[in-house]
Subunit: 232 residues, 2 copies
DNA sequence: GCAAAAGTGTTGCCCATACACCCATGC
DNA sequence: GCATGGGTGTATGGGCAACACTTTTGC
């Protein structure tokens, strides 16, 4: 990157970081990837994976890189939650963090990162989210609000599923993130009749109890119209 | 703000700015506040109002301050659009900008700022938005997408109106921002029957042609349920 | 056969739209 | 009266929730 010369004192210097909210659904619950902090501040506490943006690095690339370094994950799509820049959010220096969220279908790939931080999954439940380092509880809650909204109008639920999934698995994503129960029959109709949301593969998943369910894959739709409404 | 000592070379230094998308509806059209750039880069082009965040300043406070300095406006509520940080978005240095949007009811207060930049209103129309400095076209389009969404589920339309307004004026906000025509009768019922959206003042606006309309003020609702659906 | 899970059909209600109609003013 | 804009009433149709019912497996 080529730059013109400029006076380094002409603007106040900030550090810029990225933090990533990696969400996953399994065992009918919602989980978030966290790493243990190995050094002060907040040493020993859990935090969201993240780190400094390099001088010539795109924000989203930085998020992808930090996520791979700290958790071994390479998720498909990152979506920005927003910028968090309260003057005292980091006691060491002035830091503005740009937060992203992403969905992971399969978190067996989660491992501790190259810098020896312990990576783990935490259940997203009341009480837990208040124990994160920095303002990461705030970031997580903002991300959750966005995801809950996004499930209504955009086909993001399929990102929580493996490439081929059953309608019941898809419903489980909604139920875990919305913390509700949905009518299986009505959900099945609504989702399969929504143009472009899911596509049939004409294959079945064998091995479970009961009638073997059909397998679907994500369709090309960018919007869900009409939106799936969240029950009260 | 008290800080521990730290090595200034331990993280890459960034500049952090804020940019503000001030939107307003008048004469059945949507307008955005812009300022003329008085110095390079992009000298002479229009840009969104904005500027550097001070070392101990909250991001939203910085947006409020810059807006007052450059346009004389003091809008009620700022909402974050997101962070924009492509490595080459500013040719001088690495800058991450945090963008906000806000609504203004009455832009007669718009004036050129203390630093002698010309402040003006630009009609939001196809073609115009491509001529802004930096990546401000991108920021504006993201803000517009957010506002169009927000109109459906949150009572943000009243922020575009003066403290007392008519239902027709409120409908004009929706029509200008969505670029559609809404049925006056159905809109009136939907809006007045939505709990907490608008409250009657039992006063009338005199002076126009036709039957004098009733005046309303914004109600306490935080969400519009069910959402106002945008026509195709 | 029985239980369990997947998927389909049916019914009734709610509500949004389309549009006709009435109201209150200026001229 | 007539035009203009504000506001209300009404009927029809589509969609969604509730829930009964059928299908297909394991045991």
């Amino acid at each position: 990157m080529t730059r013109q010369v400029y006076d380094p004192g002409a603007y106040p210097p900030f550090a810029v970081t990225v933090d990533i909210v990696v969400l996953s659904v399994s065992h009918r619950r919602l989980w978030v990837a966290v790493v243990e902090r190995g050094s002060p501040p907040f040493q020993g506490l859990w935090s969201l994976p993240g780190g400094f943006v390099e001088p010539d690095e795109d924000l989203e690339s930085a998020a992808t890189r930090e996520l791979a370094e700290e958790t071994g994950l390479s998720p498909s799509q990152l979506e920005q939650v927003g910028a968090f820049g309260a003057p005292n959010r980091d006691p060491r220096m002035r830091v503005v963090s740009v937060a992203y969220w992403t969905a992971a279908a399969d978190l067996t790939a989660l491992r501790s990162g190259s810098d020896a931080k312990a990576a783990s999954l935490a259940a997203v439940e009341r009480g837990f989210t208040e124990q994160l380092a920095f303002d990461h509880s705030l970031i997580l809650n903002d991300a959750l609000d966005e995801v809950r909204e996004a499930l209504q109008t955009r086909p993001v639920a399929t990102r929580f599923c493996r490439p081929e999934f059953t309608i019941t698995e898809l419903r489980g994503v909604y139920e875990a993130i919305w913390n509700t129960n949905l009518d299986p029959g009505n959900f099945h109709k609504k989702v399969t009749e929504m143009p472009g949301f899911v596509e049939p593969t004409s294959r079945l998943r064998e091995g479970g109890r009961g009638r073997p369910p059909e397998l679907y894959r994500a369709g090309p739709a960018q919007r869900l119209d009409p939106p799936l409404s969240r029950p009260d």
